[in-house]
Amino acid sequence: MEILAKKPNCLTDIPMHYCPGCGHGIVHRLMGETFDELKIADRVIGIAPVGCAVFADEYFACDSVQGAHGRGPAIATGVKRSKPGAIVFSYQGDGDLASIGMAEIVHAAVRSENITVIFINNAIYGMTGGQMAPTTLVGQVATTAPKGRDPKLQGWPINMCEMLSQITGAKFLARVAVDCPQNVMKAKQAIKKAFENQVNGVGFSMVEVLSQCPTNWHASVEQALEFVRTKMMVQYPLGIFKDEGAK
């Protein structure tokens, strides 16, 4: 019998702890497929963050390091500089990458570390229970913005791809979503490109994934997907912001 689809070899059999409707699992799968297709499985070393994906080190069948909140790009720098032949990724959420780890992500891009960053933007702190993230939309309710994010008090959401595109060392920046099959396929292309770049020594590559968080948005899965499409994509337009590895 011909096998048409199966779980990527690069994912373990450990059941994922993510909430129903969450985008993390989809992104993990796309990464696993990428490792299999690029035949880099035995070279991948992943850095898991603090946050919802703290157990990501369990789910990838590759060597993994789990470190401090926001420091993924620094840890990845240490791993990559010590093992230049390894394919190193840092997997981070929005609080991790765009708040506490802002310096680490910016300077990893400045140095153009030859690593791949997968950035999950769901506009909320998930693991800690729905606090305001740097990416929380104006008016969006969070437990630490109970009346909705008010720019007078909490400023505006930060667009990481646009910001990092100003940095010479950032070589590939893409924003994708996993709200529908078409976008999942585009997300796969971007993720694959970000890892191919590392194989080819292009330099710093990051894919920002708009992801749904039904649990902390207090929404049904259907409503959450609608929020991604009608609200998040307005603040965070999808697209390729930089692609200097294209050839």
Binding site: T12, D42, I45, V54, D63, G78, R81, A86
Partner: protein, 387 residues
């Protein structure tokens, strides 16, 4: 082994680390340790290693976390306020059981303090420094030669027990030049073999390696196992140096630069007919408590000499356990001990005097404290104290 050469402390340390097989260094500029990253920037690549000037001390220690996870001999250096920033990474390194070398070329504190040499980070170094139940091994050199030779010892201890090791030096030791020789041949890290716990390119020849700091339900077992290792280290790895300890009136206890002033004090006291001995802990954690307990009882009094305000003396009192009176001769916040002052303090220990001895309660005698807040209605006394 090398011929004796004249070297600056920080440069001897950096060269010693490369010779000891360090192949990853990340750091951030701060006085008085700048010669260490500068030396690494100039020489690490030639040795086949990597040097990264990090965006912060926080990033630097986390780079070390990543590099150490690969089994590479990895290190960072900084000075007091920078070491405070590194505490996040140090507690994660301890939790993930990663060996590495951290160098603290101490300056005055708290806060930004001063750039002069000091020993105010004793508590921070010997009590872990970050959150949770953990220790780092702490080596305290007192010469440029030891600065050059301790990185190898530090890496070996760190790897043997899978934990961070700190070299606790100070600004003067780092900046001064002395004749020194390396007491070991350069280490080729490729000959050291691989750790079974490290992450690496694996080519399918083994299962997945995982280095992590979140322990969840396994935390109790994890911390308990580590405590057994700590017990073993306290039992077997305490190092110290002794001078005239068998036959002295007052036993001086000092580490690092302070111990050098004690050597001068021993000579000066001899001329005055007073017998001083010196007990110098080389490992501050594990503290050589048992050895100090035994040797202290041969003296009439113990005098702790430290460039901090009553930190080392706490471990000395714990070790001596009330068997002999313990006094403190303190030079905090960048103050420098000298032989004559130490002899004066030693005399006070013997004749019941107070000169040169620091006692926190006596120090506060007659002190009043009046903190005022300016309000729209005028000056209002908020709190008053005194004795």
């Amino acid at each position: 082994m090398t011929e004796k050469t004249l070297r600056k402390g920080n440069e001897a340390l950096a060269e010693g680390a490369i010779r000891a097989g360090a192949r990853f260094f990340a750091g951030y500029p701060i006085t008085p340790q700048n010669e260490v990253p500068e030396y690494m920037a100039a020489h690490m690549a030639d040795a086949g290693g990597a040097f990264v000037q990090a965006e912060s001390e926080v990033a630097a220690i986390n780079m070390v976390y990543g590099a150490a996870a690969t089994g590479t001999r990895s290190m960072t250096s900084s000075s007091s306020p920078g070491i405070s920033l590194k505490q996040e990474g140090i507690t994660y390194l301890a939790s993930a059981d990663l060996p590495c070398l951290i160098v603290n070329v101490m300056r005055g504190g708290p806060g930004l303090g001063s750039i002069g040499g000091a020993q105010g980070d004793y508590f921070q170094a010997t009590r872990g420094g970050g959150n949770g139940d953990y220790h780092v091994i702490v080596l305290a050199p007192n010469s440029v030669e030891e600065l050059g030779n301790f990185p190898k010892l530090g890496f070996e201890l760190a790897e043997k027990y899978r934990m961070p090791c700190m070299i606790l030096a100070d600004g003067i030791l780092g900046q001064m030049m002395e004749s020194m020789a390396f007491n070991f041949d350069p280490v080729d890290p490729n000959q050291l073999g691989k750790f079974d716990w490290a992450v690496d390119i694996c080519k399918g020849e083994r299962g997945k390696s995982k280095v992590f700091s979140y322990k969840g339900d396994n935390l109790i077992a994890d911390v308990t196992e580590r405590a057994k290792r700590y017990g073993l280290i306290e039992e077997t790895e305490a190092r110290f140096e002794q001078r005239n300890c068998e036959d002295c009136d007052v036993l001086l206890v000092a580490y690092g630069l302070s111990s050098r002033a004690c050597l001068e004090a021993i000579s000066l006291a001899k001329e005055a007919g007073i017998k001083l001995g010196l007990f110098r802990p080389i490992t501050l954690w594990p503290f050589p408590s048992k050895q100090l307990f035994e040797l202290a009882q041969k003296a009439k009094a113990v005098l702790t000499v430290e460039q901090s305000l009553g930190q080392l003396v706490q471990d000395v009192k714990l070790a001596v356990d009330g068997k002999v009176p313990v006094y403190l001769n303190a030079y905090p916040a960048g103050g420098q001990p000298d032989g004559e002052k130490i002899v004066t303090a030693a005399k006070s220990c013997l004749n019941g005097g107070k000169e040169g001895l620091f006692d926190v309660r006596e120090h506060a005698e007659g002190f009043t404290y009046d903190c005022k807040r300016n309000t729209a209605l005028g000056v209002q006394g908020d709190c008053k104290g005194g004795k």
